[in-house]
Every structure is written in C-alpha cells, then in structure tokens.
C-alpha cells in the first residue's frame, strides 16, 4: 500500500469517463490507480454492457471480472445523455474536471453534443481524450470494431502465431493474443496522450486529443514496418525464432531465447554439454541459425526430461534467458509477486477480499494501491450530483423519475 499519497502522481486531477469500450475504460482505470478521481458515467438502469462481459465472477447476477478489473477505483454515476437533463449534467461534470475520456462513435457525437468543437467551446480548459478503434478522423473513423478486429487492423494479428504453436497447427487461421491485448494497448496509449495534454494545460489550455487503438497497435508493432522498409514483408511462417522458443518439459512449458553468444554457451552448459551441441560449427551464430531445426530437435528432447522450476532456476543462474509459462496460480503465489506487492486486496461482493492486480510499475519503491472495488451503477449519484455539484436531493429524485439518472 502507498504510505505517502504524494507518490500517486495523478492525485488531485478529476477525470470524467463517458465510455463503453475496453480501451477507454482501461485508460480511466490507469488514471484512477495513479491517483486521479475518475467518475464513470453509465446509462441509468443496468449500466454499461461490459458489466456483463466474460470472464464472469458470477453467472446470476452476471458480474464481470473484466469490468471489475477495468473499473477499480472509480466513482459511479448514472446519467442518460440522450436526454437534455442528462447532457446538462454531463456538462456540469466536464466543467469541474480536467480531462474527459470519451469513446462515443463519431457519428453519434453531434446528437450528444460531444463534438470536439462544441466541447472545446464550452470547456476551453478541458482535455478531451477521444479513444476510438480507428480514431476520430479518417475514412475508417466510423467503422465498427471489437478486439479481434483492431488486433488485425494493427498488423500483429497477421503475424501470429509463430514457433511451436505454428509448427503444431500450420494450417489454422492466424491466432489472437489472449483477452483484450489490442484494446489495452489503445488504453495505455491514451493515458500517454492524456497526461501529455495535462502537462501543457496551464500553458495552452484544453485541447482535443484523438487516440486510435489501431494507431497504438501499429506503433507497438513497428518492427514489421521497419522490416518492410528493409525489403522483407513478414508473415507468421517466416517469423519464428530459428531455435529456442516454447519447450515442453515433463511438468509444463518454458520459453528460452539466446540472443548473445554467452547465453548460448550457458544453455549448452545447462544441458550438460551434449555431444550434438558441442559441434564446433555451432559456435557460429549464423550456423546455429541455419541449423535451427536440428538444434530444436536436441533442445526439445532434452526439455522433455526436465522439470520446469528446476530448469528455470539453474538456467537463470547461468544467465540463460528462460522463463516458465506461468499459470495464474503460479503468478499469484510466486515469491516475486509477493515481494513486489503487485496484488492488493479488493472487496468483491460474494467473495470478500480477493487479491487483484494493481499495476506493472511502482513509484519510489511502493506498489500502487487499489482504493475501492466496483459499485452498482449510480452508487455515487448522491455524492457526486448533490455532494460535489451542489444539487438538491429533490432534484436527483426528480431526474430519477424522468429516467435522466
């Protein structure tokens, strides 16, 4: 837990999150865990559709692990932005916030008075962080897309899988990375942009920041573009490491990758200097590259006789880059995770305190905290609409009767 709240770098900032999708919700999450007050605006009633998205913690009522992960530490208000009252309330939130996260499709923004020009004119100090699959401008701006689509739009989809998975199933379609990888990349990119805009807000005022999940994925996949410039169009069949990669041990899988000579030599030693690996020709990295299939044969036969934890421990002692393909249980129970404090207790309805992942980084040696778990849609209506914005409880009740909140 953070002992000094000043280590949470976004403390003091208020963010309004009007978002349905994973990318924008993740941007809000990361701002919340870094200390910002993030107010999530959902439609009245059942709230965001993501509340019922897989993977589920409970079936009835459907409680989404994904939603809990993405929305930890936020405040929850409801507001029907289709109504005039709802739009006015959203405007009041924007007037008090430093940053708005919005993923309303471009074609719907005019009806909700969420066009960048309108928002900019009404709230000149507000950073409007737009997070959309293909961005807010361009021929594809209104294209519909889910995780699988943006993953393939970013280029990495075409290049997956490689190595053992591809060798095992060479004729299957390209493979996606688990979960919402592409959208979380989009959300991370959005935070970079949003924080950058906050950095210059005192000097230039608010501004519109257009973040595209596709752009973000092309950026992290820039390797393929550089290779194209070198005259090579990469595909999944030609991208495998020539040797190493996923190895099946007798009790699980490890990954190994030796880019440097000393790492290869360490690997040979780890295998107890087998005769095939001591071939003097294999000291040459180019020869190893040429004879990758033969090396893999030897590596894989050896790995089958090894236990995962043992081979990782001994290999790392020899500076051989090796890692276990960890299951969630391994990660939660590992001494490394415990020492780093990357899981913090989160109170979940029906489960009590559950260890939840915080973030992949620490400030001044302290893991980040998770302030509170997801609440029901509108759980903070009273606190935000009345306590923070100064409306009367009677107004809140009236909006409730009209369906505006």
């Amino acid at each position: 837990m953070i002992s000094d709240e000043r280590n949470a770098p976004l403390a003091g900032f208020t963010v309004v999150e009007h978002a349905e999708g994973v990318a924008a919700s993740y941007a809000g999450r990361m701002m919340a865990v870094m200390g910002a007050t993030v107010i999530k605006v959902e439609p009245p009633g059942k709230g965001a559709a993501l509340r019922r998205a897989e993977p589920l913690l409970t079936q009835e009522p459907a409680a989404s692990a994904l939603f809990h992960y993405l929305n930890v530490g936020k405040r929850f208000v409801t507001c029907d932005v289709e109504s005039a009252d709802g739009r006015r309330l959203l405007g009041e939130l924007m007037a008090r916030a430093e940053l708005l996260i919005d993923d309303t499709p471009v074609a719907r923004r005019a009806a909700l008075q969420l066009e960048p020009e309108v928002v900019g004119a009404r709230h000149p100090q507000l950073v409007f962080l737009s997070v959309l699959p293909f961005g807010a401008a361009g021929a594809h701006a209104d294209y519909r897309a889910y995780e699988l689509n943006v993953f393939h739009a970013g280029g990495e989809g075409y290049l997956m899988p490689n190595g053992l998975t591809l060798e095992t199933f060479p004729d299957r379609p390209p493979l996606k990375i688990y979960g919402h990888f592409a959208e979380l990349i989009g959300g991370t990119s959005a935070v970079c942009a949003g924080v950058s805009a906050l950095l210059v807000r005192d000097e230039v005022g608010g501004q519109f920041v257009d973040v595209s999940v596709q752009d973000a994925n092309i950026s992290v996949g820039c390797f393929a573009i550089q290779r194209l410039g070198d005259g090579v169009l990469e595909n999944r069949h030609g991208r495998s490491f020539k040797y190493g990669g996923v190895l099946e041990c007798c009790d699980g899988y490890v990954g190994v990758l030796t880019l440097e000579q000393r790492q290869w030599e360490g690997l040979v030693k780890l295998m107890d200097d087998p005769a095939w690996a001591l071939d003097p020709a294999l000291r040459d990295p180019l020869e190893r590259s040429r004879r990758g299939a033969e090396i893999n044969q030897g590596l894989r036969a050896w790995a089958k006789t090894q236990r995962v934890n043992d081979v990782v421990r001994r290999g790392q002692a020899l500076s051989v880059p090796l890692a276990k393909y960890n299951e969630p249980a391994d990660i939660l129970e590992s001494e490394q995770s415990k020492a780093r404090g990357v899981f913090a207790p989160l109170d979940l309805p029906a489960f009590g305190a559950v260890p939840a992942f915080t973030a992949a980084f620490q400030f001044n040696g302290e893991a980040l905290a998770l302030t509170w778990a997801v609440a029901e849609p509108g759980a903070d209506n009273e606190a935000i609409w009345c306590g923070w914005l100064g409306h009367e409880t009677a107004e809140l009740e009236q909006w409730g009767r009209h369906g505006a909140v």
């Binding site: 692990a65 979960g179 595909n235 990660i331």
Partner: protein
C-alpha cells in the same frame, strides 16, 4: 509545439522495451539523448542471426527522433560525464539488469544527488526488487512469466510466444508511468523513481483472468480465436494467398444484419443459431459456412459489405497493407522519411493527434555518436581539446 518540448531525457536504455519508452517521449517532443558505446553496442544495433537475418531489428524506428552520444561507462570519467548529463536533464531512462546502475554509481540516489528533482524510469524483466529481480529475459519470456503467453494459443495446443509487441507494450507502459511522474514533478517539484517490470506488464494484460482465478478458483484456459459469449468470432480466409478477414458478430442486431448481408435468411430461424449461446455451441459449423462465403471474395469486399450493415469486419493487415492504407497515411500514422543513405522509407509516426500540441517524428536514426559535439560541447561546455582527449582515452567511445 509538442507537449514535451523543452524536456531533456538522458537515455541509457538498451534492447527494445526501454528504448521504446524513450521513443515515445521523443515523439512527444523531448530532446532524447541516447547514450551508447562502441565498446558494447546495443544488441539491437547489431545483426540478429537468431531471427535468421543480418540486419538490425527495431533499432532504426525506436531510435528515430533521438540524439546519439558515445560514453564508456566502464571508465570513471565516463560515469562522471553521465552525471553531468543527468544534471542538465529532466528524465533518466535505463533498462539495464537491476544492479548494473548501482555498480556504475548511477542509481537513483546517486543521480538525485546531482539533480534533486530528477524523474528516473527503470525498465527491467522482473522489476528492481524481489528474489527474481536479476532474471534475464526477452519479450517472449516476459509474456511467459506474466501469464499472457500461457493463455494465448489454441485450446488443444501449447502456449504461444508473444513477440516484440511485448517489448514495446512494456515501453509504452513505462512511458505512461514516467509521464505521470513527470507531471507530478512539474506540479510539486519532487522527482520520483519509476520501476517498471515487463513480466508485470504481461500480467496487466490478463488482469481479468487473474481476478477471476483469485475469486473463483477457476483456471482460465487457452481458447484460440474464440470468445466466451460471441459467435461468429474468428478470422476467415478470403480470395488470394494468405488473405484473411476478422469478423465479430456480438449482438442480436448484428446477427440479423449479418445473416441478411450473407443472404442467409434461413439462419434466422435455424435453432442452432437462435441465440448467442447456441451460435457459440455451433460455432464451427457457422465458421465453415462463413468461410465458404468469404473464400470467394476479397478482404476489402467482405469488409465493405459487412461494415455497411454495421457488422465489425476488418482485413488482417500485413505491413504492406498498413503503409498503403489511405486512412493511416491521412492520419499521419504512417509517414515517409528520408533514411541515412538518402532513401525514402515508410515509418510509424506518433500514434496520437493533439489539436494544439502535435507530436512529431522529425529526425531519422542517428549514427553512433552523431551528436557528441552538441552534447559534450554545447550542453556540457567541454572544449574541443577536452573532447579530443576524452575520445583518445576511449571515454567518449
């Protein structure tokens, strides 16, 4: 003017993850000075035979917009110069194995002594603390240790390597964190040390699965391209060699539009496809039917037909598709740059559009030590004779 114009980064990073972090800062306008030595080149400046080729890997892209200086940190005077550079910088980025900066006398405490408000980001495989802090690693191993590679794969197959996107997503995450720390420094005057662990970045991509397991004890499994509640949800073959299109039909409205677009009204009364759940059960039959339709059409035609009725479809883009795409060229996602030998080449520009403070890709990859004179002469105030002597002594090396 880009948001980080006027911010200087002393960039000690190597390989891919750390340099990508500094690359993001450079795109945002920071003056990013990459510190290298001919004594031990960044492995990404060197050929990579394990990839089966002799060219450098991502070096050119992630070093674009940066300046390059040579500094031999094995010499005490090299370390002293590094400290002088930090003293005139705002951010330090490094990605050595934990312990190396300590040994060099360049850890956070030492750098804070020369620049009290310095913001420092350290990027490593497992973080600066913990029993496995010294573990060596590369992208696929971060994905393995963090569980992302374990959950990626076909349900009847092995776990799968996550490639350089794992490195770069680590760098992107590091950029996010160090930007937040720099914002705090700007407001409070206090620096921070940001410790980023690549394997934890991989954990962040499976945060939902980790939470599900922690709460319910149910171990998530590899599911290929399938989604738990959605079908169709797959990648389908199109006309041409290795031409694929991704299609996702997530709602009942989309399902009706999809059946109509494929001219298959009978699907709407077929009990196998009556609900998302039954479509999921019969997804392989559905996939076969859809493949038969897509196989005779181009990726672009399938995308056009389905997007016109509000169904999410998009080609599986190759790098060539990306650089040729008018949407991406129009957004500046892809840019033309002139390389060191005068050749024009396509590169990836900044992934954000700021209305008032646009990020920019202005400069191609520097040659090793290209900016020695500017940094050691102009910034640090060394005379030409001093620089010459430091070069001769292999301090600037």
């Amino acid at each position: 003017m880009p948001p980080l114009r006027g911010v200087r980064v002393a960039d000690f990073t190597l390989h891919a993850a750390g340099p990508f972090c500094a690359h993001m800062l450079a795109l945002l306008g920071a003056e990013c000075i990459k510190i290298e030595t001919a004594g031990r080149l960044d492995i990404f400046r060197k050929p990579h035979p394990v990839y089966g080729r002799m060219g450098a890997a991502t070096f050119d892209q992630v070093t674009s917009n940066k300046l390059s200086v040579q500094l031999n940190l094995k010499q005490p005077r090299g370390v002293e110069l590094a400290k002088r550079l930090v003293a005139v910088s705002d951010i330090v980025a490094e990605s050595f194995r934990p312990g190396v900066m300590d040994r060099l006398g360049l850890n956070y405490e030492a750098l804070k002594a020369v620049k009290p408000d310095i913001v420092m980001v350290s990027v490593s495989a497992s973080g600066q603390t913990g029993p496995e802090r010294g573990y060596a690693g590369y992208a696929p191993l971060f994905g393995a240790a963090g569980g992302l590679g374990t959950l990626t794969g076909y349900e009847d197959g092995p776990p799968t390597e996550i490639r350089h996107v794992m490195d770069h997503s680590t760098g992107l995450t590091a950029a996010m964190a160090v930007l937040a720390a720099y914002l705090r420094k700007k407001r409070t005057g206090a620096g921070q040390h940001v410790d980023v662990a690549a394997r934890e970045v991989a954990c962040g991509f499976i945060g939902d699965a980790l939470l599900q397991f922690a709460a319910t004890g149910v171990t998530p499994r590899r599911t290929g391209n399938d989604a738990p509640q959605i079908a169709p949800h797959n990648v389908y073959p199109c006309a041409g060699d290795e031409a694929w299109v991704s299609i996702v039909v997530a709602t009942e409205d989309e399902w009706r539009a999809f059946a109509k677009a494929l001219q298959r009204p009978e699907w709407l009364t077929d009990a196998r496809f009556a609900s998302a759940q039954t479509r999921r059960t019969h997804r392989r039959e559905l996939d076969n039917e859809i493949s038969a339709w897509t196989r005779g059409r181009s990726r672009e035609a399938v995308t056009r037909i389905l997007q016109a009725v509000g169904v999410a479809a998009f080609p599986s883009y190759t790098a060539q598709d990306i650089v040729d795409d008018p949407h991406l060229n129009g957004r500046g996602t892809i840019k033309n740059m002139v390389g060191p030998d005068g050749e024009s080449r396509k590169v990836v520009g900044p992934p954000w559009r700021f209305s008032r403070t646009p990020a920019k890709l202005e400069r191609w990859t520097p040659k090793l030590g290209e900016h020695n004179q500017y940094v050691f002469g102009e910034l640090l105030g060394l005379s030409a004779d001093e620089i010459e002597e430091l070069v001769a002594s292999q301090v600037i090396y």
